[in-house]
């Protein structure tokens, strides 16, 4: 029970930790105060609790596949928000376009980040709440489960801190490229997981399995779990899942490139002129 809860909570925590630490790096470079993280963790935990309490009801929607449909919806929303965030980060990149209207653009970036983390925690956290909620009533399980969950969460948070300081240590030229790559992997992961859920719900048809790497890297191995949490590793991905993964990655990168093409300093300057800045 102890080890099981470590793995279960760690896996969920790692996904959120990766997203939060990358977003924190961006917010540092864009001079956004990191308070937004606390707001989003608070809102996300509340969302997770509400989702967990209503899971039984939600699961019965759409002929007993409501859980898949709602989770897929959350994942597509995360992908969409990541796209919007990357677009606004790219438009207002302080390294390239130092004249942009920082306060105005940063508010939008912060709202995107809060919503992203809030949705991610709602999704990941609900499963943890349901798990702990069930086990806590059984005295023999309660203690090892709570201890294991605490350790799992601790390792997850430590990994997040490591990623954060690791990224801060990288030179300015490289930090954007690395952070952007990580965000695009999160985007690909979301799209792939959403497609898998919709296939499980029979909302999407079956598509052929592209490869089987379960002999090389089993999904239930330590590396398998780690890779699943960080890049959405699947040992037997289907054609649709893999296409969605590539689509998700491309979407984030296209939004970034799109933002670079939009010449904001001139419009912002015009805006500033009009408002009397």
């Amino acid at each position: 029970m102890f080890l099981n809860s470590v793995v279960l909570v760690l896996q969920e925590a790692l996904e959120a930790a990766l997203l939060i630490s990358v977003l924190l790096v961006f917010s540092k470079h864009y001079q956004i105060k990191p308070r937004w993280v606390l707001v989003s963790i608070g809102l996300g935990s509340m969302g997770a609790l509400i989702f967990a309490l209503n899971m039984a009801l939600v699961s019965e929607w759409f002929d007993y596949v409501g859980q898949e449909v709602i989770n897929a919806l959350i994942q597509f929303s995360i992908l969409f928000l990541l796209g919007l965030l990357v677009l606004s980060l790219s438009i207002n990149n302080p390294f390239i376009k130092p004249n942009t209207n920082v306060i105005k653009s940063n508010l939008w970036i912060m709202v995107c980040m809060i919503l992203l983390v809030c949705l991610a925690i709602t999704r990941e956290g609900s499963e943890i709440f349901i798990y702990i909620g069930g086990v806590i009533n059984q005295p023999s399980y309660a203690q090892p489960t709570l201890a294991g969950s605490g350790i799992g969460a601790g390792i997850g948070i430590s990994a997040g801190v490591l990623i954060y300081y690791g990224l801060l240590g990288v030179t300015r030229n490289k930090v954007t490229a690395i952070s952007l790559s990580l965000l695009s992997l999160v985007g690909g992961n979301m799209a792939s997981q959403a497609v898998l859920l919709l296939t499980q719900a029979d909302w999407l048809p079956y598509s052929q399995i592209l490869w089987d790497s379960s002999a090389q890297i089993p999904e239930n191995s330590v590396i398998g779990h780690l890779l699943y949490a960080l890049i959405g590793y699947e040992a037997t991905p289907s054609l649709f899942q893999f296409s969605a993964y590539l689509g998700g990655i491309s979407l984030i990168l296209i939004f970034w490139l799109l933002g670079k093409l939009i010449d904001v300093p001139s419009t912002m300057a015009l805006d500033a002129e009009n408002t009397g800045y």
């Binding site: 069930g134 999904e219 040992a235």
Partner: protein
Amino acid sequence: MTLKLVCRLPVIAIVFLSIVLASHYALAATPVIEIKIQNHLFLPETIKIPANTKVKLLINNLDPTAEEFESYELNREKVISGNRKAVIFIGPLPPGEYPFFGEFYPKTAQGKVVVIEP
């Protein structure tokens, strides 16, 4: 005349596709397999399904606690609340054995799907 036909083509295609899809779903009724969860055990532990066929698993959790159906081999994961039912679609699959387990109580909740040639 040709332009008219070109304009109508999408409509004809949609109608044709709807007929094909409707008949497909009407004819191919998905087999349903029922599994119970009781005292953190899957009952039955082994289920047999035909190869290359999509199957609907109807899982009835009789325990008051939630369980998570999980299978790396089947690529499936779903929380099933206490005293509730859940549906999971699997397949079509090639013949073989596909273990599954309850992620919340993995010590006892173990089972497998055996896919056999029809």
